[in-house]
């Protein structure tokens, strides 16, 4: 019996020891797994932190590849039809902290690599109403700021392209967008000569350095818009903008827009460039979306001449060219209709009269005749004073979220001069034969354009 008791005691002891060892082993395993989980959590937290930095960088972009056919005989010697890449853009946006954003957008179109946007936006933390932009960005104007990837006609209106060449300018802009009212205000200060050509007596553009100002005058732009909701009918956005600027005079005379009066000006004085514009965008919900958008601009523009150069040694004197200040007017009207989810039809009529001080019939008739040809060159009105109107229509098919296919045709009409043969241009045929006075501006000079474009956006 005693032996049996000893035996049972030994068995129970061994079992207890075994269980204890198992518990110890399990505790070790749990501890090991716990360490592993903690390690993984730590790694996940590090990865999440790294990933959150990456999510602050956003990359978008689009490519517009197109085939175009031009009616203009002036292009016969080169090419009247070709494939091209109109825009190849990548946009990088980095939101460093809440309310501070950096934007960089180069354009990689073949043969013309350029920097489109490069700016910093700082949003105010307190009222969340003001935003400050500094760098190179779009000038405050409806059609300028409307993305090229969304625009309903393939290019901006002629007046916008003429007044705001390249669309962007270097400067600073303050935006006011209160959350309590549907009003938006923009006030910008720019160098003001971005994209303008200012030629010297040797024919060289002295405003070719994009990154710095050509003069000390800064140009100011202001724009205000209001969004009015029209109940179930749709909405009306309307507003106005103004451009108040100047360029430095390089000449000693300024010629009036009607080519009749010359006034004195000092070298370095202001030559004003001021204009105003009114805009509206009406959105109507009729069997799908439809909109009517328009803008009218008018004011005074200027081109800069140069001072005369006196004869020196064997070099002959170079007569000066007067600054030229003229009134202009122009605008555009769009009608856009969405057809289902994937198609859109758009029409646009736009016109631009670069010099409203004279009519087409007066071109080459009125002209300033100098009394001293050595000091000041004669200047005659010409092609640059003629108005242009364009009627364009486009059909867009959105193949999917990223692909848009566009067929667009633009009918271009020039203002006619009074008499046949009064204003003409030569052109060269495809076989190299020159056609003297082949383009006669007493008629419509062929300039229509057909474009088939595919746009891929991401």
């Amino acid at each position: 019996m005693k032996k049996l008791k000893v035996f049972l005691f030994l068995v129970v002891s061994v079992m207890a020891l075994n269980l204890s060892a198992q518990e110890q082993s399990q505790a070790e395993k749990i501890s090991e797994l716990n360490d592993k989980v903690n390690g993984l959590l730590e790694r996940a937290a590090t990865s999440e932190s790294d990933l959150s930095k990456l999510t602050k960088i956003k990359v978008s972009g689009y490519i517009q590849a197109q085939y175009q056919n031009f009616e203009s005989p002036a292009l016969l010697a080169k090419s009247q039809n070709y494939f091209s890449l109109r825009r190849v853009r990548l946009k990088f946006t980095y939101e460093a902290t809440d309310g501070v954003k950096f934007v960089l957008q180069p354009d990689f179109a073949p043969g013309s690599l350029s920097l489109k946007d490069a700016y910093v936006v700082v949003n105010d933390h307190w009222s969340k109403t003001f935003s400050l932009f500094v760098g190179k960005f779009n000038r405050p104007n409806y059609e300028v700021e409307y993305s090229s990837s969304q625009r309903e006609l393939i290019e901006r209106s002629l007046i916008i392209r003429s007044l705001y060449p390249g669309e962007r300018a270097i400067g600073a802009k303050l935006e006011f967008n209160p959350s309590s009212a549907p009003i938006h205000m923009q006030l910008a200060v720019f160098n003001g000569n971005d994209g303008l050509t200012v030629t010297n007596n040797a024919g060289t553009n002295v405003n070719a350095t994009d990154n710095i100002d050509y003069d000390n005058f800064k140009d100011v732009m202001a724009r205000i818009t209001y969004n009015l909701t029209l109940g179930n009918f749709g909405g009306l956005d309307f507003g106005a903008h103004g451009y108040f600027g100047a360029a430095k005079s390089n000449a000693l005379k300024t010629l009036s827009g009607d080519y009749t009066t010359v006034s004195d000006i000092k070298f370095g004085d202001r030559v004003s460039r001021n204009w105003l514009g009114g805009e509206f965008q009406l959105f109507v919900d009729v069997l799908g979306g439809m909109s009517l958008k328009g803008e009218y601009l008018a004011g005074k523009n200027a081109t800069i001449g140069y001072a005369p150069v006196a004869a020196a040694g064997s070099a002959a004197a170079i007569p000066g060219v007067a600054n030229f200040q003229n009134n202009f007017a122009g605008g555009y009207l769009y009608l856009i209709k969405n057809l289902g989810k994937r198609n859109q039809l758009a029409f646009r009529y736009d016109f631009y009269d670069p010099n409203t001080d004279i009519k087409g019939g007066q071109v080459k008739v009125k002209g300033f005749t100098t009394t001293d040809a050595v000091t000041l060159a004669n200047k005659m009105s010409g092609k640059g004073d003629l108005a242009t109107s364009t009627f364009g229509f486009a059909l867009h098919h959105y193949f999917d979220d990223n692909i848009r296919i566009t067929a667009c045709y633009e009918i271009v009409q020039n203002e006619k001069v009074g008499t046949t043969g009064l204003l003409t241009e030569d052109y060269v045929q495809a076989n190299g034969v020159k056609v003297a006075k082949g383009l006669d501006y007493s008629k419509v000079v062929p300039a229509n354009v057909f474009t088939l474009r595919i746009q891929a956006k991401f």
Partner: protein, 279 residues
């Protein structure tokens, strides 16, 4: 190229228009995408509506309010569900792509519920305290009458309308960097359920198996839980409308469906699913 005159161009434009109309097929089914807060209600609506309207086909998915509105803008959905209002930047995109301002339909009300673990000693918080907690200014439960333990924050991703609404109305600043973002309200509830010291926020309809925190407008106000009554009277301080956004005024099957959602039958489902009716 042969010279076009204005008449020929006009004829061509009309023909192009006709071709476009030919491409415009009537929608075969209604797609609904967006707010995760609304998704269970939207699915219920679709399910019940399709039972009584055999010809209707409605497909509902979540993803967040921002995702839904983006899908509406790029044509990938017919209805965007959102637990916040459409932003002005989104409206501009809709104008640019579809030439409309969109149509906003308030379809339900919701109280953003504060989820606490069932074992939490804290039962009520003020809006100000919640702001401080989610901004990372209050980091220990001890400061709120709880245990001496760190507060674990659970929230939604920034594509969520609830994230935006909570940030604009409660956090009033940046979320604390240690706030763990989770894909969907159900995930937030689940995380808080498992974490004794966790706190999260989301729609009232998801609050199961956790403790619901009462909320005070300010330190001197009484605390209220999110109920139909307190939301209706405005006593519960964190309430919001839930929206459906459409590109255009609804017609045909879509109009029938929207009208049904706003009818007594559709609004009864709102209550059944734990949300609150618009009227």
């Amino acid at each position: 190229m042969k010279k076009f005159n204005l008449l020929k161009s006009a004829i061509l434009a009309v023909l192009l228009g006709v071709v476009c109309f030919a491409f415009t097929a009537a929608p075969e089914r209604i797609t609904v995408k967006g707010s995760d807060t609304l998704v269970i209600l939207a699915q219920k609506w679709a399910e019940v509506y399709m039972k009584t309207n055999s010809g209707a086909s409605i497909q509902v998915t979540g993803g967040g309010s921002g995702v839904g509105i983006s899908a509406l803008i790029n044509g990938a959905t017919d209805i965007a569900n959102a637990s916040r209002k459409m932003k002005s930047t989104e409206k501009e995109k809709l104008k640019a792509r579809y030439n409309t301002l969109g149509v906003e339909v308030a379809c339900a009300k919701d109280g953003i519920t504060i989820y606490l673990n069932a074992a939490s000693k804290v039962t009520e918080l003020s809006v100000d305290q919640l702001g401080k907690i989610f901004r990372g200014e209050i980091t220990n439960w001890k400061e709120l009458g709880g245990d001496d333990q760190s507060i674990k924050l659970y929230g939604r991703e920034n594509s969520s309308g609830t994230y935006v609404f909570f940030q604009e109305n409660v956090v009033m600043g940046d979320y604390a960097t240690n706030c763990q973002t989770l894909p969907g309200t159900a995930a937030v509830v689940n995380a808080v359920k498992k974490d004794t010291y966790g706190i999260g926020y989301g729609g009232a309809a998801y609050a199961e198996g956790i403790s619901i925190c009462k909320v005070k407008k300010d330190a001197n106000s009484p605390a209220f839980a999110a109920t139909a009554e307190t939301i209706k009277t405005g006593e519960y301080p964190i309430t919001r409308y839930l929206y459906m956004y459409l590109r255009n005024r609804p017609t045909g099957e879509m109009k029938k469906y929207i009208d049904w959602i706003l009818s007594a039958e559709g609004q009864k489902l709102v209550v059944d699913m734990g949300y609150f009716p618009v009227k």
